[in-house]
Amino acid sequence: MTKTLKISFALKNTYRVNSILYSIKQIPLVKKLLPDALYQVHGLKVFANVLSLVWEIVSVFLGKFLYFILMISGAASLYQAEDPGKLFLHILVLLTVIGAFSNTFMFNPSRDKYYAMILMRMDAREYTLVNYGYAILKVAVGFLPVSLIYGLGGGAPLWVCLLIPFFVAGLKLAMAAYSLRDYEKTGRITNENGLNKFMWIAILALLAAAYGLPAVGIMLPVSVSAGFMILSVLCGAVAVWKILVFDKYREMYQQILAKSMAQMDDVNTMSRQMSQKVISADTGITSNRKGFEYLNELFIRRHQKILWKSSKKISLVCVCLIFGILLAFYLVPELKEKINGLLLSFLPYFVFIMYSINRGTGFTRALFMNCDHSLLTYSFYKRPDFVLKLFQIRLREIIKVNLLPAAIIGAGLAALLYASGGTENPLNYGVLFVSIIFMSIFFSVHYLTVYYLLQPYNAGTEMKSGTYQIVLSATYFVCFLLMQVQMPTLLFGVMTILFCLAYCVAACILIYRLAPKTFRLR
């Protein structure tokens, strides 16, 4: 038993350490400094091992803390409950039921299980018992401090708080034992990554009960919650016996893992199929243009599902929203003043909105998956003048696609400003409209430039560039931060316009200088 524990720990650790080293290697600059033989460097390995150990300990508690803060206590504090202890237990019990069948550990087809039981032929029963026991222990230990802190703070009695860790563990054990028995009797396999329709309905129903019922004042009485918890602990105790005597772990895992591993290997094929699905099969789509314009027109028209259609949908939603607010002005005139204030100080917020409705990422992804991925293998396609010509055409197209919703939002904001009482400085109308348009152009230029300069995919359509991901995350982060900024619309608008202009000019210069060299398969 101890040997199995040791081996499975070592295995998991090696896997984790190598993952840490691998992710370190993905960081640009750092990767140039590190040798290929990185996985053999002793010092680094020790460092990664320490990280791995720290992570193991932190993960025991951190996840539970976040879970309690976000899902239970935090959520509970949103209701004005008379009896917070009752509400706390109500949410906890219902969420624990969800967790008992959707987060089982035992039926999670993870890679380390595949390596240990299938590839390395470890004894399946021993491996499972040791690791499952450890996982359940981690659950109980991890829940203890948070239950005490948040349970007592939330107004639950001490004995109930002490019971929580055993309740969570007990219910998980009971569910696992039930699934094992089900397998013995019917041959049905439980796989938590392949929940069926009923499970999803159950999850939704339980979530609705956990968060919806308290809103209308219905909660499980404390006695029912406590009773259920005690019952679960008892069932858990019985379940331990079932889990120990179950002797078909090997054949069960063979089936669970074989299925999932096949799926994992196919992730790439699947993402390619997904990309190909967006290609319109309409044979009526043709083009009378020539050369690259011909290629481009066919591309845009065969991908209208993710380009024009979705941009039109967004535009329609925006039109409805704007008319909705105008109607609200008419019905509730007090709103006007509020909205007027918002319009003159919340322009930074719209950076994030323009970011989220931009079609740029979808466009570049489709460009690569369905077009460049194959054409880049032909030498004619890589001729510098062709690369630049096509860049111009594509830039024009993606700007056009994004411009429709932008124009509607820009004009809508200006109209709302006027309808909500107007402004002393008429320049505000213009700046509002133009800055929204420029934001849209900025994102279009940004995505396409980054795509041309960093060309993040390899021939197997895997994303290979860490830099690309960092740039995209940074974009998101900046847009997100800007939501926190409040600035007079005039000032921010003018700044946005100037920045976008400068960025577009800089981007185009960079493209002309570098793209013929950078726009290659990796």
Partner: protein, 235 residues
């Protein structure tokens, strides 16, 4: 016409994949490039197609004794897994290709003539390429690569996954194309190499060398190649 590689080298960090490639290819011949797994055949092709930067050395064309740079359109590269733009039909892809290369393609033919030449059935010509079978995609890729009449045609394991009929068609095609150009053909299948190629070149330890056939018969020649590959990998 000659295609000359001088002292070409390529490292991946410390691993020398191509050490010192020094070779002259002559037009009119099909060269069979043999090497063990991981010997660097695809790396060599990627370097020659400029998908990858080399670390040293150079390669150039020699026309009538005069050296000149290799232009992008000199090289045709057919990958082992055919890649074609999925959102176009076969006919559209061909039309696009002819459009943008109209200056460099002498005597363009009607589209259907090209399809006939590759024996791509009329009903398939207007289908989206994403719905083409593996063999048809391969034919399409080959067609695009030969219309432009590249001086050097690189083929990376092109026949391995084709059914016997298509493979035979392709072999005939390659034979008919070999005049006036250099064809370099990488493969793991010895019989195919012996059947199709005029010269057998080994890539081993980052170096290219020709195996002299002299007057050996087929099976002696095979033994010699195997021995060369085996021996060199153990020194």
């Amino acid at each position: 016409m000659k295609f000359i590689i001088e002292h070409l080298s390529k490292n991946f960090e410390k691993k020398e994949v191509l050490r010192d490639i020094d070779f002259t290819f002559e037009s009119g011949k099909i060269y069979g490039l043999l090497g063990r797994n991981g010997a660097g055949k695809t790396t060599l092709f990627n370097c020659l197609n400029r998908d990858m930067k080399t670390d040293g050395g150079r390669f150039y064309m020699e026309d009538g004794g005069l050296p000149r740079e290799v232009a992008a359109e000199d090289i045709g590269y057919v990958l082992s897994t055919p890649t074609v733009p999925e959102f176009l039909t076969g006919r559209e892809f061909l039309r696009f290709f002819l459009d943008i290369n109209e200056k460099s393609i002498q005597d363009p033919r009607p589209l259907d003539e090209y399809f006939d030449y590759m024996s791509i059935e009329p009903e398939d010509r207007n289908k989206l390429l994403k719905d083409y079978s593996h063999g048809m995609k391969n034919k399409m890729q080959m067609l695009i690569n030969i219309i432009a009449r590249p001086s050097v045609l690189l083929l990376d394991e092109p026949l391995t996954s084709l059914d016997v009929v298509v493979a035979e068609e392709m072999k005939q095609l390659l034979r008919s194309l070999k005049n006036g150009r250099i064809t370099i053909f990488s493969t793991h299948i010895m019989d195919l190499a012996l059947d199709l190629c005029d010269e057998i070149v080994l890539l081993n330890h980052g170096v290219l060398e020709v195996v002299d056939r002299a007057d050996l018969d087929s099976s002696e020649f095979k033994d010699k190649i195997i021995a060369a590959l085996r021996e060199e990998s153990h020194d």
